[in-house]
């Protein structure tokens, strides 16, 4: 079944009436990756995820998930994926263990398989000691972790996480991140997550697809995306500003130079690689470096560059904003 890619979409498109929520997206996600879909609310992340999870049907185009077509083999797709939804989807009147057991049964696991696996996933997310309390007594972070555990129950090849840390505090977010990393390594699971938190994409993802207005506008590793901006800035404090301004204006090392206060602001491609050569240039010309600092572009800068706007909270996702809840497929 391994055709090389965990997910392969082919010009997948979804319209809600006039609105094109997902527009002609073709991406390939490798096995073992943590892949992030980064975009503002309403960009089409959830719609795309729902299609890949066989909840929504594409208007045109298609996708293969774990080697199965999402339209013609939805059951095979469902068996090979785990899903953690954006909104909570636990039964609060059952215990954590019962929620997991319910899931195991629905995915056709035998009693022995369920027993063993429940202990495993509980320990992965660190909930073993609270397994027998009713879910309604759990905190927000615990519920999130239980949902992740549940997504792992049936040993899916691919785990979808829709805004996994939405509404969690900074500390809990960090815990969830570490757990996602851990299970990607130890369980060898492919993770596809959507997020509108830049730090989350930057910290977690091997590759990031920036999605805006239903289109993928950029796709690469977070580092490569930042490098492409060629936007590193080196702040350099030297003894003779005017002299070095002239020198660096002629130097092929830098793409631009300005004076700000008593220091030089040099625009360079890759800051960390260029700094030693800048310092060398200063020495060779008989000057002395007093201070040097580097500002790298953040993923936020990348995001602004590609979408022309800063990421921000702007209400609910497209589908719910327009009151267009898709019909669930069977």
């Amino acid at each position: 079944m391994n055709n090389g890619y965990a997910i392969e979409t082919d010009r997948i498109t979804r319209k809600f009436g006039e609105l094109v929520a997902v527009d002609n997206i073709s991406i390939k996600i490798k096995y073992g990756e943590i892949f992030g879909l980064l975009g503002p609310n309403g960009a089409g992340k959830t719609t795309l995820t729902h299609m890949l999870c066989t909840i929504l049907c594409p208007t045109s185009g298609t996708a293969r998930v774990a080697g199965h077509d999402i339209c013609s083999e939805p059951d095979e797709v469902r068996s090979s994926i785990g899903i953690v939804f954006q909104e909570p989807s636990l039964d609060n009147n059952l215990t954590g263990r019962e929620n997991l057991d319910f899931h195991g049964r629905m995915y056709g696991m035998t009693s022995e398989q369920r027993k063993a696996r429940i202990e495993e996933v509980l320990s992965i997310v660190g909930l073993s000691n609270r397994a027998d309390s009713l879910v309604k007594t759990y905190s927000g972070g615990m519920k999130r972790r239980l949902e992740i555990a549940r997504g792992l129950m049936h040993r899916p090849k691919i785990l979808f996480l829709d805004e996994p840390t939405l509404g969690l505090d900074a500390q809990t977010r960090r815990v969830v991140w570490e757990q996602i990393e851990k299970l990607n390594k130890t369980e060898k699971i492919t993770v596809v997550l959507t997020t509108h938190y830049i730090e989350e994409a930057d910290y977690l993802c091997d590759r990031v697809g920036i999605i805006d207005m239903g289109r993928i506008v950029a796709l690469d590793t977070p580092q490569a995306l930042k490098d492409k901006l060629e936007g590193d800035v080196v702040y350099l404090k030297v003894d003779d500003v005017k002299k070095f301004l002239r020198i660096f204006q002629k130097s092929p090392l830098v793409k631009g130079v300005k004076v700000t206060g008593d220091s030089l602001q040099l625009q360079v491609g890759n800051g960390s690689k260029t700094i030693p050569r800048i310092i060398e240039t200063v020495r060779r010309n008989g000057g002395q470096v007093q201070e040097v600092s580097l500002k790298r572009p953040s993923l936020e800068d990348v995001f602004i560059n590609y979408t022309g706007k800063a990421i921000r909270d702007e209400g609910p996702d497209v589908a719910s904003r327009f009151g267009m809840h898709g019909h669930w497929r069977r």
Partner: protein, 251 residues
Amino acid sequence: MSATQVIYTLWLREMKWFLRGKTRIIQSVVQPFLWLAIIGIGMSSAFKLPGGQSYLQFMAPGIIGMTLIFSSIMSGVSVLWDKQFGFLKEILVAPVARTHIMLGKALGGVTTSLLQGLLLLIAAALVGVWPPTILALAQVMVFMIFISLAFVSLGLAFASKMTDPVAFPLVANFLVMPLFFLSGALFPLATAPDWMKAIAYVNPLRYGVDGLRGAIIGLSDLPLWVDFGVLLVFSTAMILIGGYLFRKTSI
């Protein structure tokens, strides 16, 4: 994924919910018991029915029918709470057939409704009304099962089309109240005005109540097999409609 495992899984969850909602169980039995113990006994001392039975005997099967129809149709609300709390998504993305999910939910609803019906049967025995023979008890069980099945499916059909769990009981009451009043549960239809009789003919609960009464006190307007036949057809239709609408339900 085997159908039985899915149905059992859904059923098991309904049972856990039922057993954890102690107040609901008590409330669902206490209210009809008050009807029996106060209205039933009070009316018995005021009226004599044409057949010679006491009013309490006449009314007890009707109150069992009332308990069944209310608890059955209300079981549909669980679908709406599942929608509300997102759990329905968890159920619907599992690699299982929706029809099996619906059957599991229906079977869970039938079981809880049947348990409440049985508690009421015991309560009726406490005030002196019970099926005379084992055969009669078996007939009572059959009628209870089919009344529950029909109205659980109806409840699920409604729940498939609705989203608000708070509005559901209002809608259900609006529907069930007239069915209950016109079922012959509280007064004999034989002596009722013709227009009322006409409406009662198309009221499925009427056949359920008539069947229960025939089995418990041996007094019925229609032969039991007719009552059973109508109920069988109605509940089959409801399962099909409920199943169809549930397959189409959206989140």
